[in-house]
């Protein structure tokens, strides 16, 4: 009898605890790709890049996504939602260098009802990633897709000898 009461109490407590964790969306409400910077020849640790400007290609306002004045080891790269291709230009502004690398993402978009709290967002299934330039060695998407999870899901490997570190 006593064990049964303990079991019932524990079940109710666990249920309350589990339910209390799902009141708000702990992830992004939109799928937002987050790219981390790595040294192509070094350990798997984030590296900080100075004087790097990131601009989307064909943006309506030609505004920089990330200005060169900020040192950064990560950058968010929102994808276009009315096209299956997104291009970004990475510009080295170190001492007026002006070197440009272009990264192209090609993907498919699938609308996805995550849950009641997070709503509907896209899942981007990556079909290909290409980079053109000098200081970006390669770009990878380890999972092969990008959803609304609030994690880093793109890796950009810089050639440190050429990059504005």
């Amino acid at each position: 009898m006593r064990k049964l009461l303990y079991g019932i109490s524990a079940t109710v407590a666990c249920g309350l605890w589990a339910s209390s964790c799902s009141d708000s969306c702990s992830d992004n409400q939109n799928a937002l790709p987050l790219a981390g910077f790595y040294d192509s020849g070094g350990p798997a640790e984030l590296v900080t890049i100075d004087s790097l400007e990131v601009i989307g290609v064909d943006t309506p306002s030609d505004s920089a996504l990330s200005p060169a004045s900020e040192s950064k080891n990560q950058v968010s790269l929102p994808f276009r939602i009315d096209s299956d291709t997104t291009r970004y230009v990475f510009i080295d502004r170190h001492e007026g260098s002006g070197l440009r690398d272009t990264v192209t993402f090609i993907y498919t978009r699938t609308p996805h009802l995550v849950n009641k709290e997070c709503g509907v967002s896209y899942i981007f299934d990556i079909r290909s990633i290409t980079s053109q330039g000098i200081f970006i060695d390669s770009v990878t998407c380890p999972n092969g897709f990008i959803n609304n999870a609030n994690t880093q899901n793109l890796n950009i490997y810089f050639d440190v000898m050429s990059a504005p570190v």
């Binding site: 009898m1 049964l4 019932i8 079940t11 109710v12 249920g15 309350l16 589990a18 339910s19 209390s20 799902s22 009141d23 409400q29 939109n30 989307g56 943006t59 309506p60 306002s61 505004s63 996504l65 929102p78 994808f79 276009r80 939602i81 009315d82 699938t110 609308p111 996805h112 009802l113 995550v114 849950n115 009641k116 709290e117 709503g119 509907v120 967002s121 896209y122």
Partner: protein
């Protein structure tokens, strides 16, 4: 001879006089004062003094019992029977104690106040020892809701659901009219739904898209716990969706005529949640689940004569 008689008479007189003189002396020695017998005859009845022990406990006689009823004769002690017995945990009601059937239509009230979802069901349970109540519920659910600050509208037509479980009544030895129980349910539902008015924006690219996903299907298994709660618990679980169900319950008990009860049930639902993934074909993968905790307070109304335990 004549002299002899005179001598005997003289002895008798002397003896009498001597006897009277001797008794007077004894009385004088007993009495502290020197009053005469004649005077003491007028003082009152003769008393015999006794010793009094002040330390001796007083004896209290009881002329009435503990209920105030007079006794046939006074007694020194009132004995009381020891009526305390060990409490038995066994149920006092028979194995089969009746069938309860109910109709849940309380969401009509909440829909009138703006609630965007509702469920209506019929349920039945069997009272076993007034302790365990195996329960079966079948009903229809409906929703047409656009959550606040969200980018979609969720619609579902009348969709069937079924739940099976049991209630555990903590007051199983008390009057069946009053129950304090915890219930467990396993639920199942297979339904179609639409997600419309989807709005996805990209501020950086200044793009916006409006989408709709229609004809989606889902199979849902979920668990439910019904727990009694008071006002404190209600405030503790603030933000939960609440449901109120008015139920009419028909109770049949073999030894007694059927009677009608009206039951007011308050369900507090915690974080009803559905999780699903949309694949390319637009169908929702199995794995959708729903967690729900409901707190239930039961009050009985219109129940004038409590049911006595079946002996």
């Amino acid at each position: 001879m004549k002299k002899l008689l005179i001598i005997l008479f003289g002895l008798m007189v002397y003896a009498t006089a001597y006897a009277q003189n001797d008794s007077t002396t004894v009385v004088d020695e007993i009495l502290p004062d020197s009053t005469t017998l004649t005077q003491r005859a007028h003082a009152g009845p003769k008393t015999t003094p006794v010793d009094v022990d002040d330390n001796k406990p007083r004896v209290i006689m009881h002329y009435y019992d503990k209920h105030g009823n007079p006794l046939n004769e006074p007694v020194m002690f009132l004995a009381s029977l020891d009526t305390v017995t060990k409490v038995k945990s066994k149920p006092v009601y028979p194995t089969y104690n009746g069938v309860n059937v109910g109709l849940n239509f309380g969401d009509l009230i909440f829909m009138a106040f703006g609630q965007k979802h509702a469920s209506f069901d019929v349920w039945a349970n069997v009272s076993l020892w007034n302790w365990l109540f195996p329960t079966l519920e079948c009903g229809l659910g409906y929703i047409n809701d656009t959550p606040d600050k969200m980018n979609y509208t969720y619609k579902s037509g009348p969709s069937m659901y079924a739940k099976i479980g049991f209630n555990y009544n903590f007051l199983y030895k008390s009057n069946p009219a009053y129950q304090f129980f915890v219930g467990f349910r396993a639920g199942f539902s297979n339904f179609k739904y639409d997600v419309t008015d989807i709005r996805i924006n990209s501020e950086y690219w200044e793009e916006s898209q409006n989408l709709s996903l229609t004809g989606l299907k889902s199979t849902c298994w979920y668990g439910e716990v019904l727990a009694p709660a008071g006002q404190d618990s209600e405030s503790l679980l603030a933000g939960m969706v609440s449901e109120m169900a008015l139920q009419v319950q028909r109770v049949k008990r073999p030894p007694e005529p059927a009677d009608i009860r009206a039951r007011l049930r308050l369900n507090l639902t915690v974080c009803g949640k559905r999780v699903g993934h949309l694949d390319d074909t637009g169908s929702e993968k199995a794995g959708t689940h729903r967690r729900r905790i409901a707190a239930e307070v039961t009050r009985l109304q219109g129940y004038d004569q409590p049911l006595d335990p079946v002996s």
